[in-house]
Amino acid sequence: MNPRHIFGRIGLWLSVFVIVSPAILFFLWMASLSLKFEINNASYPPVFIPEHFAWKNYADVFASNRFLTYFSNSLVVTGCATGLAMLVGVPAGYGIARMAAHKSAIVILIARITPGLSYLIPLFLLFQWLGLLGTLVPQIIIHLVVTVPIVIWIMIGYFETTPLELEEAALIDGATRWQVFRHVALPIARPGLAVAFILAVIFSWNNFVFGIVLAGRETRTLPVAVYNMISFDQLSWGPLAAAALIVTAPVLLLTVLAQRQIVAGLTAGAVKGG
């Protein structure tokens, strides 16, 4: 431990602190806002840790009669959109990887580039024509725009790295392609399935733009519900921040718990996405 080394360690920890603090401070401030009474939220200079915690902000959010509806809407939309995407996307990723049909990935690239709003105009008309607008079905279907490309993209990457020898051996032993996929390829690709699932869930859960157009009063998902609270409830910051934290808490929890999978998926997807 020479002085130069110690100096380096201090510098390193200082830079780590500087880099991580915007994220930490933001979320701490979010928690602080959500736990303060109006008096504390409106005081200047701002109070960071109040004397009394306003747990009632959270109780208020859960007690408002529609919040649970919106929560279950979010669960249904994200659950169905992710489940369907896994159902069609995982076999597709396998097929594309085995056929080495790399040109088909261009469709996924175009989907990645296209602004979400441009899907909304035609699909909005289609759903209106089909008379589906009062239900959750339109949102489930349009969330597939987000989830299916993610799942296909990540699964192509994973199946490309899994060994072919086992599959060939199984085929020669008389297994069908489906059996090879189901019993040989799929178990090996389990880490990839986790990555695709987690990312699809997060990006579907967070989606806002599809909801503001397609959701009615009864079919709002949580991000849309929170947005509507901003416009009607500008001044009571405590419950608003509490609602915001409740909406994003599942995702933040998932990020910390599954950060290795998320990082793997994002870098794989992102690096290939370029």
């Binding site: 880099i19 597709a92 602004p115 069908t176 859960w205 967070n206 992102a270």
Partner: protein
């Protein structure tokens, strides 16, 4: 007794295996015919390279329905005069010709370009610095990296809500922080001249982690030899970064820049939730304007034309970046030769 059971179980096995192979063959033939193969069932012994089309077809149907169909429909619709509730009239390219004469659209293009430029450059700079730090070994690195990427995974609307409170001119914490270092209070998103930089601040805070992750992947791929020889030659930290690290991570920086560009151009949630394009139309980007045209004024024909032009603009920007990359690689190779 026991012989009988054995025999029957053997028969069971034989039966089930027969059923098994039967259904297997049936499956195979079904897959062949679905894949548009020759149709006749291949003999079981002959091995053929498998067709994987049946795996792809369900996804293909979904992609056709939710991605390709909307695209075709949008292009067709962009040539119609179509407002909800009134009949459609074919107008050819009139919607496109209207774009350059629409001051709000022209202004929105300007906002989009400045917002994008800032939202690409700032996360690239901070993300690279953060990656250099996260490339070092220190305690709890994995956990801290998890914290660091939280901004980009969190629900954008929820984040936007808290930033709106932080930007508040009287009660917001940002003006308090400015007063601590002796700077005058700002109006942030409530002033037309500072609204775009303020939104870029949020975007940068949110997306610097993605750049960090990509560059970190690049740093992991760099061999250690150049660093060892640089250390022997007595290069300082800045020289090492400028002449070894930076050139080697250049390809990753381009990829990060490309992704950042695509996402920044399309940015919607943050802008819409914090300012709705205001004050006035000072932060109205193409995406926000597209929303107003299509779903506030319900001018779907014109909105579709904006969507098409918007997509072409993104493709053009991506092509420009690719061209710049070629040019830069070429000049750097030239520099190496000289």
């Amino acid at each position: 007794m026991s012989v009988v059971t054995q025999a029957s179980s053997a028969a069971d096995k034989a039966f089930s295996s027969e059923v098994g192979t039967g259904s297997r063959e049936e499956n195979a033939s079904k897959q062949d015919s679905r894949a548009g193969g020759s149709g006749d069932v291949a003999p079981a012994r002959e091995w053929r390279p498998p067709s994987y089309w049946p795996f792809v077809i369900p996804a293909l149907v979904v992609v056709l329905a939710v991605i390709v169909f909307p695209w075709v429909f949008t292009i067709w619709m962009s040539m119609q005069e179509w407002k909800v509730g009134s009949p459609t009239v074919f107008v050819g390219l009139a919607n496109y010709l209207r774009l350059p004469t629409d001051p709000r659209f022209v202004e929105a293009v300007g906002h989009t370009l400045s917002y994008t430029a800032l939202s690409v450059v700032l996360p690239l700079v901070f993300g690279t610095l953060a990656a250099v730090v996260f490339h070092q070994k220190f305690a709890a690195r994995g956990f801290l990296r998890g914290i660091f990427i939280m901004p980009m995974m969190a629900t954008p609307v929820a984040i936007a809500l808290v930033w709106t409170m932080m930007f508040h001119p009287q009660l917001g914490v940002l003006n308090y922080l400015l007063s601590l270092v002796g700077l005058p209070p700002q109006l942030w998103v409530f002033n037309p001249t500072t609204v775009i930089p303020s939104l870029v601040l949020v975007e940068t805070w949110q997306w610097t982690p993605l750049v960090m992750l990509i560059v970190l992947g690049g740093l992991a791929a760099i061999p250690t030899e150049p660093y060892e020889s640089a250390q022997i030659d007595g290069a300082n930290f800045w020289q090492v970064f400028r002449f070894i690290t930076l050139p080697l991570i250049m390809p990753f920086l381009f990829i990060a820049g490309m992704i950042r560009m695509i996402d920044a151009v399309k940015s919607f949630d943050i802008i819409f939730a914090i300012t709705q394009g205001g004050p006035g139309s000072a932060s109205e980007t193409i995406n926000v304007y597209l929303y107003s045209v299509a779903f506030v004024y319900y001018d779907l024909g014109y909105g579709s034309a904006i969507a098409v032009v918007f997509f072409l603009l993104i493709v053009a920007l991506a092509a420009l970046l690719l061209y710049l990359r070629k040019r830069l690689l070429w000049t750097s190779e030239l520099g190496d030769a000289a």
